[in-house]
């Protein structure tokens, strides 16, 4: 039994994927940052379209973009987020396997894969965290229910 066997049979839709912030294309970087802080999200999806049900994904803007393209680049805050985002990000469908998602992330060196279904609906962000959560739930005895401090030993016997 290895991890790959499990990950091949688990669909992305069966994992607990991360949430995301969302802004329309053209939103200034400053407002995008405010949205991400308010929602406490490290990923923001940039979309086209007004109707919430029929938005089109155009780009992804993450904390890494903040590091590399915003924080010490003068004037960036007032530019539209489109200039700092990654255009047409690689996405994955909900019925793809977790193993496929991992492979895709490795191949393209990305940490956040938007999960998009056949109708274009944005469902969440696949990350390594989803795999960590899966493992914790899959092996509760080994992982979830570990003694809290491995170096702490009871000094005397105690009943009750």
């Amino acid at each position: 039994m290895n991890l790959q066997t499990d990950l091949k049979s688990e669909h992305v839709s069966h994992l607990v994927v991360s949430g995301f912030a969302q802004v329309p294309a053209g939103t200034p970087v400053r407002d995008t940052l405010a949205r991400m802080r308010a929602d406490r999200r490290v990923v923001c999806l940039v979309v086209d379209g007004e109707e919430p049900a029929a938005v089109q994904l155009v780009g992804i803007f993450t904390e890494r973009d903040v590091m590399r393209k915003v924080v010490d680049v003068p004037g960036m805050l007032d530019r539209p987020v489109d200039e700092a985002m990654t255009l047409d990000p690689i996405t994955i469908g909900p019925d793809a396997s977790a193993a496929d998602a991992l492979r895709l992330m490795d191949e393209h060196h990305v940490r956040n894969l938007p999960v998009v279904d056949g109708t274009g609906k944005l469902l969440g962000i696949m990350t390594h965290q989803a795999i960590i959560q899966f493992l914790a739930d899959r092996y509760p005895v080994e992982v979830l229910n570990r003694p809290i401090d491995p170096e702490q030993f009871p000094r005397k016997a105690e009943g009750g």
Partner: protein
């Protein structure tokens, strides 16, 4: 009423962790419940000083020691009674009762029933592992018929109690169920339990890893648990299954599992947490005949006991004035108990020899094999989780920054090395903080005018959790899954950073491990 200053401070999980050594067996489901309780309590907004945990006797009942709140480890089965008194005497308190299937349903069954029936404002959490764990493996009031234990060598012949049905029989105003191995569901259900006014009853299916380890396997197995659990949501259809392709329909008074391919959605039951008959039906759905109903089964509002009782006291005092306890004592018939001459002490001789000569029946021998169920065969992967150490991940040498470094320099360093996280050290190179790209997004970008003028020590997270590299990988997984840490620093015995590991490192290593087999 004056406001206590402490109530306004935003508490964190750490505020609820006590300094006591946790004495549960490694792998015990109680750890998961403790972690989720400590996680949700800050969210409820109740001050530590206003929170009390009361327990009886048993493994679960050690809970109050581990919570940094008030707590009483009380008498076997009597936690609900003690808690009732406390809730009445001080209605400002949030009182939690922690009990188990033995403590709550056998030894203290009576007390539990009446605390629920009276709708005392308590949050009662019953850890159900269907076994007596602390006394080393006897069958409990929730053990299934046929359960072979030390006290039922030929299998239990008793009909078990269904805790949900018991709570409903006492007309509980809030009844819910969750399971230790599903932390997200458990946290959400604990929060709902805390919110309810009046007696809240939460049953948690909990794994006793030593004496009853396979009791909940079908419900806890991550790969197919969604096929075995019906997650209840008020106002939503009762649909379940990994692919959400099954539903619950009523056939007369009997619920039945149907496939959504064959049955229209409008035939599927819709959950209504205010419906008493529906609660009974859900409570009666026993796994494996049905999926186990999880979540809030019943949630209604009724006057709570303290309010009703105190209203009566106020009315009585308004009519007749405040009473005097001494007068009350003296008002009734009085006796004086006088000392009598001592009677001759009765002699009791224990005849232990009787026991020594008791014949050993063939029974023990015959059933001993059945009791000693062979240990579950662990997969290589499970073995890897607990035997492979963090050193095996070959962690990257960490990029460290001194506390006095400017934000500008730190961010340049992070970008140069293309990393999302640096460790911050003091003059003696000991780890004092961690600074990540989330901190940049959350507290720096667009908020700090001159990056060169600001020190990293004002923006980092202080005293991050750190690990030694001789710990098993499972330990890092535990911290990452419970707290969502994306990076964990590794330190040596002097507290100096030796490495840093991320989600990606752990998943990558585990994914490649055992690949050849």
């Amino acid at each position: 009423m004056s406001t206590v200053a402490t109530e306004e401070i935003k508490l964190t999980r750490k505020d609820f962790v006590s300094d006591q050594t946790v004495r549960w067996c490694p792998g015990c489901g109680d750890y998961s419940i403790l972690a989720q309780m400590q996680r949700i309590l800050p969210e409820t907004g109740v001050a530590k000083e206003k929170t009390v945990f009361i327990s009886g006797i048993g493994c679960a009942s050690r809970f109050p020691y581990y919570m940094n709140t008030y707590g009483i480890h009380s008498i076997h089965g009597r936690a609900p009674a003690l808690a009732t008194g406390l809730a009445i005497a001080n209605p400002d308190l949030t009182v939690w009762v922690i009990t188990g299937d033995g403590d709550g349903l056998s030894i203290g069954g009576n007390h539990l029933l009446h605390a629920i029936r009276r709708n005392v404002n308590l949050n009662i959490v019953l850890f159900n592992n269907r076994i007596y764990g602390l006394t080393k493996g006897q069958y409990s009031p929730t053990s299934r018929p046929g359960t072979v234990t030390k006290s039922s060598p030929m299998g239990s012949t008793e009909q078990p109690l269904n805790p949900i049905a018991v709570a409903l029989a006492a007309e509980a105003t809030f009844v819910a169920r969750s399971i230790d191995s599903h932390p997200q569901h458990l946290a959400a259900t604990l929060e709902r339990t805390a919110e309810h006014q009046g007696a809240s009853f939460l049953e948690i299916y909990q794994n006793c890893v030593i004496f009853n380890p396979n009791e909940w396997t079908d419900l806890s197995d991550r790969r197919n648990r969604d096929d075995s659990i019906l997650y209840l949501e008020h106002g939503k259809h009762m649909i379940f299954g990994k692919d959400r392709d099954k539903g619950i329909r009523l056939n007369g008074f009997t619920p039945e599992v149907v496939s959504l391919d064959e049955v229209d959605l409008d035939e599927i039951l819709v959950h209504d947490a205010t419906s008493r008959p529906l609660a009974s039906i859900l409570g009666s759905m026993e796994f494996p005949d049905y999926p186990a109903a999880m979540g809030v089964i019943r949630d209604v509002r009724k006057p709570d006991y303290t309010g009703e009782l105190m209203a009566q006291v106020e009315t009585a005092q308004a009519q007749r004035g405040k009473g005097d306890l001494n007068q009350l004592y003296l008002a009734a018939d009085l006796w004086t108990v006088e000392e009598r001459e001592e009677t001759e002490a009765r002699e009791i001789t224990p005849s232990s020899s009787d026991f020594d000569e008791m014949p050993i029946t063939g029974l023990d021998e015959e059933y001993i094999d059945e009791m000693e169920t062979p240990a579950e065969v662990l997969s290589d992967f499970q073995d890897l989780l607990v035997t492979s150490t963090l050193a095996a991940l070959e962690p990257n040498v960490p990029i460290t920054m001194g506390m006095r470094s400017s934000l500008a320099r730190t961010i340049r360093q992070m970008n140069r090395h293309n990393i999302g996280c640096v460790l911050v050290t003091d003059e003696e190179d000991r780890l004092v903080g961690i600074f990540t790209e989330w901190d940049v997004l959350n507290r720096v970008a667009g908020l700090v005018d001159d990056l060169a003028q600001q020190r990293i020590s004002d923006y980092m997270t202080r005293d991050p959790m750190s690990l030694k590299d001789d710990l098993p990988i499972a330990h890092a997984l535990n911290l990452m899954s419970l707290h969502g840490f994306r990076h964990l620093p590794l330190v040596d015995d002097n507290g100096q950073p030796t490495g840093i590991i991320s989600f990606r490192d752990v998943v990558g290593y585990l994914n490649e491990a055992l690949e050849e087999e």
